[in-house]
């Protein structure tokens, strides 16, 4: 068990290195660097350029050095908590980001919980009542959830909430908590405000999960042990609870790997529409203005979120499923 955990964590390292190389390549792709265009812009506006500061930044991040060295500085800096300098906001990236990352984690986590609580009963119902009207209706709703783009749903929900409930929902917490330290009241306020983004982000993920859970459970329900259990006269509810459902629980945890990228993608675009104080809007503006260190940090963070999420789900699976634990194998 310990060996597996250690091995699994060590396997993360090359993945993260590769991801950081890709991210660095992407943020380096635009011609020139942000510093130069920044200087040009300042000069065009007739403002004076703080040569000393520019020189310091160029020296510190090695912007005139070869790419490999720039990368090493950037990656090395990240390990020590220095994520670079945001040229657009004119301050270190760590200060620009504030608690955006934490809020992204919270929103993603709550969305996963939402997805689970909705998908679980519906998936089981659909599988046990295959080809019934309920199954068809729920499947159609699920398809609709996949087909409606997140951002449109967000816009409409925002409008509906505004008209029906009279709330303005551009944000993730009551205004008095913005910029304040984290307290229980703030957490409560965030949870109260997060239901619309959670529903919007959750719909498509939930729909996909229902379909996968239904397919999985259907496979399981056709296995011989289910036939045996029924032949022995076990009541249907108990048959379901005792065996196939436990298999489905495993699937719930292992499915995080495909659910998490989906949720994070959805969270980004929904956050832009609802202007949530998460990573989404800032990532978009950073990408548009080619604020490379800021964009790179966000991309790196989102990828890390997924890698860690998959790691946790793998470890949870090992802890839960004796077959994997005893075989000591990799789950996927």
């Amino acid at each position: 068990m310990v060996r597996y955990v250690v091995k699994r964590i060590l396997m993360m390292i090359p993945t993260l290195i590769a991801i950081s190389i890709i991210v660095f390549t992407i943020i380096q792709l635009p011609p020139g660097n942000y510093l130069e265009s920044y200087i040009a812009e300042l000069q065009a506006q007739g403002e004076s350029v703080d040569q000393q500061k520019i020189a310091f930044l160029r020296e510190y991040y090695g912007l005139d050095k070869p790419l490999v060295e720039q990368y090493l500085r950037w990656a090395g800096g990240m390990l020590t908590g220095d994520f670079g300098y945001s040229f657009e906001f004119n301050m270190p990236v760590t200060r620009v980001i504030g608690d955006r990352m934490l809020l992204t984690v919270i929103v993603s986590f709550v969305t996963i919980l939402f997805t689970w609580t909705v998908a679980f009963p519906i998936g089981i119902y659909s599988a046990t009542h295959q080809y019934s009207w309920g199954d068809y209706g729920l499947s159609f709703l699920g398809f609709l959830g996949i087909a409606i783009p997140n951002f449109m749903l967000a816009l409409v929900m925002m409008y509906v909430a505004n008209v029906v409930f009279g709330t303005t929902i551009g944000g993730l917490m009551a205004p008095e908590f913005i910029g304040k330290a984290w307290t229980w009241d703030k957490v409560k306020s965030v949870l109260e405000h997060s239901w619309i983004p959670v529903i919007v982000i959750g719909t498509s993920g939930t729909a996909g999960m229902i379909r996968r859970l239904r397919a999985n459970l259907l496979d399981e329900l056709q296995k011989q042990y289910v036939v045996t259990a029924r032949a022995k006269g076990l009541p249907p509810g108990k048959t379901l609870r005792k065996y196939p459902l436990r298999m489905a629980l495993n699937f719930f945890i292992s499915d995080i790997g495909s659910l998490l990228p989906h949720i994070i993608s959805g969270a980004e675009i929904t956050a832009v529409v609802l202007s949530l104080p998460t990573t989404g809007p800032m990532l978009l503006s950073a990408l548009k203005s080619q604020d490379m260190y800021l964009a790179g940090t966000f991309l790196m963070f989102l990828a890390l979120l997924i890698v860690v999420g998959v790691l946790i789900s793998d470890l949870a699976l090992v802890a839960l499923d004796p077959r994997i634990r005893l075989a000591g194998g990799v789950t996927r």
């Binding site: 011609p31 609709l144 675009i269 997924i306």
Partner: protein
């Protein structure tokens, strides 16, 4: 055959007891295969090709067939967009900015005069600066069909001005309203279909080729090739799709022409999509290359490319096509999302996402809800592709 009933035909009449039973010999020619002979219907079924079986099975899935037809019609409209759309893509009606949708009527003052629209009268609300359009029931304008309207170059080849439907001379026909420049939303949706629908097809073609090639190499050679491909796929998969798409499309140079951007975006969508297909190809190949017929082909000296292409691929091509169909909607949604955010396609290239870019804030939803209509074809296409792909997937294994 007598009409008394089946019993009389099949029973053999026995001689009365005690008489000498004659030795019965049938004179009919003996056919040893008679027991194994198939009825014509069975024969048709057993001898049908794999594709024919798939078609039969696919036909049973009603929703999938309907979805296929819907898709066929939608792709069909892109061939004759200019004729179907009442206006051109960029025709501006400066007198009718943010005009609300016009309704088609049949009866004017109780008498039937065929389909017509009433003239729209504009009033400006001086408080909110909002334009209000009302119907003027005194002025009916009958629609014209197969008429001459905005001139266009059909497929860039021939000048024409034929439209399926046009407004009466001097009147307007905005069935789905107009946008902030007074452009007809319906015409723009029809024109946008060209871009939105083809981006999925071109994208899937690229990702299909990549998936086949890379997955094929990994599955057939195994070993370190497989290891490398697996790692690469794992890394690509641990990126959230949309942010990576956003990052890559933000990198496309501003100086590129819109058509280059179109291909750039398509390439980006495809570049991240092939991993699923490659995985499917790989796992199938790994299983199939252990089959006896593969060994036979190898022993007969067939080259790897022939073994893969001739013996292995046909075995699971149908599965691949089904799963490729299921990943087209993801691409269409991806393009729509990118263009909505303003980092995808750029005008003058118009896709549904570009149109939705106009509906970005809540005021639009409240004041000009018809600007959100381009989302309707998006939803229909995504649903249709999903159902169609589901049907294909079920039919892909006709022997089960």
């Amino acid at each position: 055959m007598s009409a008394d009933g089946p019993g009389e035909v099949s029973t053999i009449e026995l001689e009365p007891a005690g008489t000498h039973a004659g030795h019965y010999v049938s004179t009919a020619p003996f056919d040893p295969a008679s027991a194994a002979r198939l009825t014509p219907e069975q024969e048709r079924f057993y001898l049908a090709s794999q594709w024919k079986l798939m078609w039969w099975k696919f036909k049973l899935h009603r929703v999938a067939v309907v979805s296929g037809l819907v898709l066929l019609v939608m792709y069909g409209t892109t061939l004759v967009t200019e004729v179907l759309a009442p206006y051109n893509l960029h025709t501006r009606n400066t007198d009718f900015i943010y005009a609300s949708p016009q309704r088609v009527h049949l009866f004017h003052e109780g008498s039937f005069i065929g389909p017509f629209v009433y003239e729209q009268r504009k009033t400006l609300d001086m408080k909110t600066m909002r334009r209000n359009y009302t119907e003027d029931p005194a002025k009916p304008h009958p629609l014209r069909f197969f008429c001459s309207g905005d001139p266009y170059r059909f497929w860039g080849l021939a000048d024409a001005s034929l439209h399926l439907v046009c407004p009466a001379k001097g009147a307007t026909l905005f069935l789905l309203g107009t946008d902030r420049l007074g452009r007809d939303v319906l015409s723009r949706i029809l024109h946008g279909a060209r871009i939105s629908l083809t981006i999925g097809l071109i994208g899937i073609a690229i990702s299909f080729a990549l998936g086949l090639l890379i997955g094929g190499l990994a599955g057939y050679y195994g070993g370190w090739v497989d290891m490398t491909v697996q790692r690469v796929i794992e890394i690509i998969r641990s990126f959230p799709e949309l942010p990576l798409w956003m990052a890559l499309s933000a990198v496309l140079p501003v100086t590129w022409s819109p058509i280059l951007i179109y291909f750039g975006i398509t390439g980006i969508l495809a570049l991240l999509d092939w991993t699923g297909l490659a995985r499917a190809v790989r796992s199938k190949l790994l299983a199939l290359r252990e089959e006896d017929y593969t060994t036979a082909a190898r022993l007969m000296g067939a080259a790897p490319s022939r073994i893969i292409g001739r013996h292995l691929l046909p075995g699971f091509m149908s599965h691949l096509i089904a799963s490729a169909t299921l990943s087209i909607p993801g691409m269409i949604l991806g393009e729509t999302a990118l263009s909505f955010l303003g980092i995808g396609l750029r005008p003058p290239i118009t896709s549904w996402g570009v149109l939705l870019n106009e509906a970005q804030n809540i005021n639009v939803v409240a004041l000009y809800p018809w600007l959100m209509l381009p989302v309707v074809p998006v939803i229909i296409v995504i649903l249709a592709f999903n159902f169609f792909g589901d049907g294909l997937r079920d039919a892909a294994d006709p022997y089960r």
